[in-house]
Symmetry: C2
Subunit: 350 residues, 2 copies
């Protein structure tokens, strides 16, 4: 028996349950019972079968299993992106949990929110017979959510849990609203008259529908501070840099909350180039606590979000859906936590 590959029968193909049955002196049906942990198999029989399995290096054919049962022990993640911190960390969490459950994990990226593109991706994912985790942090994701055929086991990773979840399809989210509220509050407490917001692209027509924008606006309202229009920037450091250059021209600007840490990184650079010191002249806060944020100069005030936890929770829910056929109690996800660092400070005196 080879240490690495699957053993081969004399005929050259990998051993099937029939080969195992032959060696163990039972029917292939009994072999099926053993590999599925069916209770009614005599211990002695079970042992003979297990010995034969080990001897032949038998491994169940995933394809045959899938064909027979009509479903696959796998999850595919539908997402518009695999490299931005939040997305990548959710994917990481899903993979980790799926691996623990011996589930296969697939990835399918949504290149745009065009109906044809989204429909195709969703179809292919659903056709594979696996369960779905769709990351609906953006337009393509939200569209994909809507395109998932009924009956497909799915869990959605969303920013805001409003609207109504498709029947039987649970949602997982971090409390971005509370998080945004907390950072904004932190800035206000430092004496800033108001806080500008550099927003991520919205999932909907109205930017206010996103939890981050809503939390920020609410904190402003409660404090009686003016609420300037949020500016939609993008996702990347380059986007933050571009938006930051515009913001830097505003002499009133003393505090800005960015939709994620990458935007904040770009803003930091733009402000420095414009000769505005952080945090002496302008305070900058991010969102997510990406791995590099603690090491920037100045280090970045942000709010830590447990994206990997979200991914693990999403898988746990999906697993419940697929194995028990019933929704399960959601896995707990860590609360967002404010991480105050060097990039925020007292408002400059007027």
């Amino acid at each position: 028996m080879s240490l690495t590959g699957r053993a081969r029968t004399p005929s050259g193909r990998p051993p099937s349950i029939r080969d195992v049955a032959g060696v163990a002196g039972v029917s292939h049906q009994t072999v099926s019972r053993v590999i599925n942990g069916h209770p009614s198999v005599r211990p002695a029989t079970r042992e003979r079968v297990e010995a034969a399995i080990a001897e032949l290096g038998f491994r169940r054919s995933a394809a045959a299993h899938a064909l027979a049962v009509g479903r696959v022990r796998g999850v595919t993640v539908l997402t518009s992106n695999t490299t931005h911190h939040g997305y990548a960390a959710v994917l990481q969490g899903v993979e980790e949990a799926a691996r623990g459950a011996s589930f296969t994990v697939g990835v399918s990226v949504l290149e745009s929110d065009e109906p044809a593109v989204v429909r195709d991706a969703v179809r292919r994912a659903a056709d594979s017979g696996s369960g779905l985790v769709v990351i609906a942090y953006d337009r393509p994701g939200v569209r994909a959510l809507e395109a998932v055929p009924e009956g497909t086991p799915m869990v959605a990773v969303v920013e805001t849990p409003d609207g109504s979840p498709p029947a039987g399809s649970p949602w997982v989210w971090t409390d971005d609203r509370a998080a945004a509220h907390a950072v904004t509050r932190h800035l206000l407490d430092l004496g800033h008259a108001t806080v500008r917001h550099l927003a991520l692209p919205s999932t909907t027509a109205t930017p206010d529908a996103t939890a981050r924008v809503a939390g920020w606006r609410e904190a402003l309202r409660r404090a009686g501070a003016p609420a300037p229009e949020p500016v939609v920037a993008g996702w990347t450091p380059a986007d933050g840099y571009a938006a930051g250059q515009r913001l830097a021209r505003d002499p009133e600007l003393t505090a800005v909350l960015c939709g994620n840490d990458d935007l904040a990184l770009g803003v930091l650079r733009a402000l420095r180039e414009a000769g505005r010191r952080v945090p002496e002249d302008v305070s900058v806060a991010g969102f997510d606590d990406a791995p590099h944020s603690a090491f920037l100069s100045p280090s970045l005030t942000t709010v830590r979000l447990d994206f990997a936890g979200v991914g693990r929770a999403a898988f746990a829910l999906l697993h419940g859906l697929m194995e028990q056929g019933e929704p399960v109690a959601p896995h707990p996800v860590a609360e967002p936590v404010l991480i105050a660092r060097e990039s925020t400070g007292p408002a400059p005196r007027a």
Copy 2:
């Protein structure tokens, strides 16, 4: 016919080629010919079949197809990590190319280089019947490479193309050696007496086996510069920070080449805290040109590596292997290019 889900036959299950055959008035075998683009089908027949396919919303069962042909139109990426820039970008490239070829993409992470862990992951990936792309930038990846059963279509993404590739399993790489040589040369040309190197963890027992270390050392040797021991740091900003704190104590230090941009980011922070200015006192260079590197302060001198291109090339090779059964000419991957920015400058005068 539903716009989203697969249509259902009256019996409640998705339509099979037999259902299509019934509607088109042909045998299911002819339907199979049509969906596989077999040439010998009368145009009129083909049209009838295609109409029936559209009418029923037929989609071939991936499981049945896989069972019949013994292989799956899919690729699974074996990797120790999915979030670090290089790994994430390779994955992104593979996914992009695979999607274009209607291949499924799976991800399996290697949690450690323990034989049992690696063997398990490789087995499961191979069992799925898909082709394999293994990212062998580190120990777990290299171990996985060795554990792939013969006969499994595979392509390896490696740092250095030495040793011997498993028969019929092509390699893809960027020329890290030349890249490291170029950055080191850049630093030497700026008048630095020598260049320290903060290395990524090695894939082997001897750090010199890695292309980046080799290129750096060669540039030093050619210039007749002393070659201080490389220090193995890790992968993350936190690792770079820790190593940077130690380096910062060395009064001789004027130039450091980091194994990647994340390490460099941490080093930048450590140097600043130690009161050593970049680039006036110490020049710092990275490797990879990660998305944030241009926006740091100072912006980071680095070398751009086309990881996504590597991923696309890896898939192209695998695709050739799986469809033509023969190795194919490698897809071109962009040459590394030196990006000189603010973090490197003339050596300070002694």
